[in-house]
């Protein structure tokens, strides 16, 4: 298929960017979206132009690096997928596709479609871990019984890959789905409960410091999240913070 691409081009973090139109031809519907971008970049390199910078790594929906806002949606129009898992069969011959970087004050653009998501790292560092010394005296994993329900919910929360689509999608650029997932994955398990109060307080404080907006429960994040992280995690984070503030 032949496509028109409208892509955000920005030289570096300081320059003003703009949308630029490109044409790509003979795109197979079996290609992934990133493969289509590779075709475009090859074309640009061959004509001596600067290729479009975009983030990617695993290209199988695991690392969370790929981060495009495609036709007005984070990771494009498909559900439960990252941009690298999005296939060109979601588009039609002759389509015009708008491609923008994830937009949020806390995710500044570095170049073209690449944004700096280290604000997520700093939130993680503020409390997204457990302080257990496991070296040399690792306990048997089954020595602490955990209910199936808690294990399942913790596992679901832990599938968050930190891609930032929730922030990009949210009209308020809120990071609450991400932080809710990280808080939940520990709060649901006995090993995480020891530091639960400090964790939620510190992670929420860091989230606020980074300049993310405030959740208004539109639910857009849950729909666009490639891992289907549920809004329940935000509700749990709210409960955890209320509990931590009362104690």
């Amino acid at each position: 298929m032949n496509l028109t691409l409208k892509i955000w081009r920005q030289k570096d973090s300081k320059s003003k960017g703009q949308m630029v139109d490109y044409k790509v031809t003979d795109i197979s519907e079996h290609m992934s979206f990133l493969e289509m971008m590779d075709v475009l970049n090859e074309q640009l390199v061959n004509t001596g132009e600067e290729p479009v910078a975009f983030d990617h790594d695993c290209r199988e929906g695991i690392c969370g690096m790929c981060s495009m806002y495609i036709n007005g949606e984070a990771h494009g129009p498909d559900r439960g997928v990252t941009t690298c898992q999005l296939h060109m069969r979601m588009f039609k011959d002759g389509d015009t596709i708008t491609i923008e970087p994830f937009r949020a004050t806390a995710f500044p653009v570095i170049k073209d479609l690449v944004v700096d998501r280290s604000s997520f790292e700093r939130i993680q560092q503020a409390g997204g871990y457990i302080s257990v010394n496991t070296s040399g005296n690792t306990q048997d994993a089954n020595s602490i019984p955990i209910s199936k329900h808690a294990a399942d919910e913790a596992m679901d929360a832990a599938t968050c890959i930190g891609c930032g689509a929730c922030v990009a999608t949210c009209k308020n650029s809120s990071a609450m789905l991400f932080v809710g997932a990280k808080v939940s994955q520990y709060a649901l398990l006995p090993q995480g409960q020891v530091e639960a109060a400090d964790r939620v307080r510190n992670m929420v404080a860091q989230m606020d410091l980074e300049g993310f907006g405030n959740c208004t429960n539109t639910g857009a994040c849950e729909i666009e999240c490639p891992k289907g992280i549920s809004l329940d995690n935000i509700a749990r984070m709210n409960r955890e913070l209320m509990k931590a503030s009362l104690s």
Binding site: M19, R103, G211, N238
Partner: protein, 226 residues
């Protein structure tokens, strides 16, 4: 605890708590207004009680005003903050792909409701305050009517079709605001999905029935008074 209300989540909780209070108030306001459809006398009696009872006047009324002002001011503060969280907007954004119109436009339905409240205060609340606190008349009477004035004033106000139309429009915005706000408030308080499903049904009924009821009352008086 004060730190809690400074955090983003604390503010969300504060928004939800003031919303609960306002939704309860709305229910009570509706119940009293509904009386006016059945009996002018009963409406007069209850209105006079509400307007002269010291507990309602000096305790409940200030709390209500605080609740209204707080919900609006906090709503605006959060909206401004949220706008700052994304200063460059998308060239193309497909909001309807993942969220309802109501949820994305709470600020606009809220502003419409604020405009209505101002009109409503000019219509009913300021004249009451004027009569009671400026003129010092606590009898609830009126030179043109025997007995209490409340029902009479209600009928007079709803003669003007433009005012009735403005009220109807405002209640449509109220319904839109509530359709998201009701469940949103519970979500902010930490309600889980399973509970929210049931809440969603109750929320829909509340969000449609109450504004529709208010519209009915406004139209009823408009059509029945000549």
């Amino acid at each position: 605890m004060s730190g809690f209300f400074k955090s983003s989540i604390g503010r969300k909780v504060a928004m939800a708590l003031s919303a609960f209070f306002l939704m309860f108030f709305l229910l009570q306001h509706f119940a009293i207004n509904l009386l006016s459809v059945f009996s002018g006398d009963l409406f007069n009696e209850v209105s006079h009680f509400m307007g002269t009872n010291w507990l309602i006047q000096f305790v409940m009324q200030p709390i209500l005003i605080f609740g209204v002002v707080f919900h609006f001011v906090m709503g605006f503060i959060l909206e401004i903050r949220n706008k700052q969280a994304r200063t460059i907007s998308y060239v193309k954004n497909n909001g309807s792909a993942n969220s309802t119109w109501m949820s994305r436009n709470m600020i606009y339905s809220g502003i419409a409701i604020l405009a209505f409240i101002i009109l409503h205060f000019i219509d009913f609340w300021f004249p009451e305050i004027n009569a009671k606190y400026i003129k010092g008349d606590w009898t609830g009477g009126h030179e043109l009517v025997d007995g209490y004035r409340y029902f009479h004033e209600l009928q007079v106000k709803f003669e003007n079709p433009i005012r009735v139309a403005a009220y109807v429009l405002a209640f449509v915005f109220l319904a839109l605001h509530l359709l998201h706000g009701f469940t949103s408030a519970f979500q902010s308080m930490g309600a889980s999905t399973i509970r929210k499903k049931r809440l969603q049904t109750i929320g829909r009924i509340y969000s449609i029935a109450i504004p529709l009821g208010f519209i009915f009352i406004a139209l009823f008086h408009h059509l029945n008074h000549h």
